[in-house]
């Protein structure tokens, strides 16, 4: 029922600890300009801009679309700002897609960013609030107990997280835009790295990055005319549930399962491991790969870690279903952009435009983002074919 839409341009910045050569505007602009160049269009060709980022407190700029209007060529155009916590990059892409899928717009630009070096994510996420115990040791402190419970339930060997940490960094080494460039990383090194939030080690955690990601999304007619192959949007889904409620399943959240089922149904996927060629999945802590393998239906419950250990998700081991060929969140994490990077990298794969981290012959890919206490999910499936 929705109009067809496709990604026709992708632009990113090189992810790094601190982009000290640009303003906030300069950072988003660089990704946006790259996306326009990739699409072979100019600023006048854009009908609306949809901006996403995580909490404004990261940069201390309230509702930054107001200040970023000119950097994104928006004077006189519609501009919308999405914020759905860590899933925001994905949600923003979905909201952008809806601008085209609704038939309201022909071609829109969507941009997500974070300039984390302007502050400290740990501060912004753990800001003490009156009358509350101030024990929030950042995102890792929140997710570590959930990972511990997964390990207990699945009886997974202790080195699954280590394996993912190595695998994603090796993938990242193929991607020149990735923040961490660690082609020499070893299991031993990860294992020996500092235990931050037991059972999460330093090298099993995502870095803190500056960066922006942008996409141009166009309607069917324009997408067919585009010079480079479009990535057709085959399914879009989002789900939310409350952060904390009695009886909540935190290890394998229902919202993630429902979201996946929804997006698969739209894309005609019945067996994600078989039907998809690769996936870009939001894995900020290494153990979330096996957890999401199960949540997203790539493996039965309790067996996600087996895929990881078999190398099924590894490009280097010739796995059948590479996860995060770009290096994923473990290699680059500008929080507000991280979800969009997953969506954009999925699109790069099916456009056959992923360079050294290309999954050969990829035709159908999943982009995934989650946020908050793993209660917000956004996903899309993109394909080389329209249907």
């Amino acid at each position: 029922m929705a109009n067809l839409a496709a990604v026709v341009g992708i632009g990113q910045t090189k992810y790094t600890t601190k982009r000290d050569d640009v303003s906030i505007a300069g950072l988003v602009r660089e990704a946006a300009q790259n996306a326009l160049d990739d699409a072979g269009i100019g600023w006048d060709d854009i009908d609306a801009v949809i901006l996403g980022k995580a909490p404004d407190m990261f940069e201390g700029v309230i509702m930054p679309e107001i200040y970023l209007t000119d950097a994104l060529g928006c004077n006189g155009k519609p501009m919308l700002r999405v914020h759905t916590a860590g899933s925001v990059g994905g949600s923003t892409a979905l909201v952008a897609a809806s601008h085209v899928q609704s038939g309201a717009f022909n071609r829109v630009l969507t941009v997500a960013f974070e300039k984390q070096s302007e502050s400290n994510a740990m501060w912004a996420l753990s800001n003490p609030q009156p009358f509350s115990t101030h024990l929030n040791a950042g995102a890792g402190g929140y997710f570590a107990p959930i990972i511990r419970e997964y390990m207990r339930r699945s009886n997974a060997p202790d080195d699954v997280g280590i394996k993912v940490a190595v695998k994603d960094r090796l993938h990242g080494a193929r991607n020149p835009l990735a923040h961490l460039q660690r082609p020499d990383i070893t299991m031993e090194e990860v294992k020996e790295s500092f235990m931050l939030w037991d059972p999460i080690r330093f090298l099993e955690s995502c870095p803190s990055s500056d960066g922006a990601c942008a996409m141009v999304i166009a309607n069917e007619e324009l997408a067919e005319q585009s010079a480079k192959p479009p990535a057709w949007i085959r399914g879009v889904a989002m789900r939310s549930e409350p952060t904390m409620y009695a009886g909540r399943e935190e290890v394998n959240p229902q919202a993630g399962k429902d979201c996946a089922a929804d997006v698969y149904a739209q894309a005609g996927i019945t067996d994600p491991r078989r039907d998809l060629d690769c996936a870009e999945v939001y894995v900020p802590f290494s153990w979330y790969e096996p957890m999401w393998l199960e949540n997203l239906g790539f493996a039965p419950e309790g067996e996600g870690w087996k895929l990881t250990m078999e190398g099924a998700t590894s490009l280097d081991e010739g796995g059948d279903i590479p996860w995060n060929p770009s290096g994923g969140v473990l290699s680059s994490n500008p929080i507000g952009a991280s979800g969009m990077i997953r969506f954009a990298e999925a699109a790069r794969q099916v456009r056959g435009d992923a360079g050294d981290h290309q999954v050969e012959g990829a035709r159908l890919a999943l982009g995934h983002a989650y946020g908050g206490g793993a209660q917000f999910f956004a996903m899309w499936v993109v394909g080389a074919d329209k249907a």
């Binding site: 000290d20 050569d21 201390g60 400290n120 740990m122 501060w123 753990s126 003490p128 609030q129 009156p130 009358f131 509350s132 115990t133 101030h134 024990l135 929030n136 040791a137 950042g138 890792g140 402190g141 570590a144 107990p145 959930i146 511990r148 419970e149 207990r152 500092f194 235990m195 931050l196 939030w197 037991d198 059972p199 999460i200 409350p242 952060t243 904390m244 409620y245 009695a246 009886g247 909540r248």
Partner: protein, 175 residues
């Protein structure tokens, strides 16, 4: 004067805003009781689940939690992490244990410190009890509990965590 010729590439920008926070009605009723050393949960009128600390609604049902019940200060470890980095603006020295704890009679966990324990021995299902600050230091805060320490009680099977009655685990074993 060499500095004088350098181009400015970065600036420090202080952004400090003052707020005067007012607790919501549900949380305020809870905090008033905590000030007196009482842990008061709130029950959802729809699903009957007990929340502590209450946040104003049963998040699952989207309805206000008004019925109150006093809970004991014994809890079960639902999960935990041993943290080796400091919390910004918090004097606790790492490593310390942050545990997700469910009070007896409650159906949801909250996070708090664990202490008086061997870190390696902490486990899911472990029984713990609050160690309170001296009464004269009590305020409108869960920080009135300094930390939780292990109890000499058998572990709670995972399936039972978050489902214990107010009478606790021993009460249940007896029954």
């Amino acid at each position: 004067m060499a500095d004088q010729q350098d181009t400015i590439t970065g600036i420090d920008v202080p952004v400090y805003l003052k707020y005067n926070f007012t607790a919501g009605a549900g949380p305020a009723r809870f905090l008033s009781q905590v000030k007196n050393g009482k842990l008061t949960g709130q029950r959802c009128p729809r699903c009957q689940q007990v929340y502590i600390p209450p946040r104003g609604s049963c998040a699952a049902c989207g309805v206000a939690t008004e019925e109150e019940l006093v809970l004991p200060d014994k809890a079960t470890v639902q999960s935990f992490t041993i943290v080796s980095i400091p919390i910004p603006n918090n004097p606790i020295k790492p490593p310390y244990i942050i545990a997700n704890l469910v009070l007896d009679g409650a159906n949801i966990s909250f996070i708090h410190l664990m202490s008086e324990c061997v870190n390696e021995d902490v486990r899911i299902g472990q029984r713990v009890q609050a160690v309170w600050k001296p009464e004269e230091e009590w305020d409108y805060s869960m920080d009135n509990i300094r930390y939780f320490k292990p109890l000499d009680e058998p572990d709670v099977p995972v399936a039972q965590i978050g489902k214990l009655p107010v009478s606790g685990w021993e009460g249940m074993s007896d029954a």
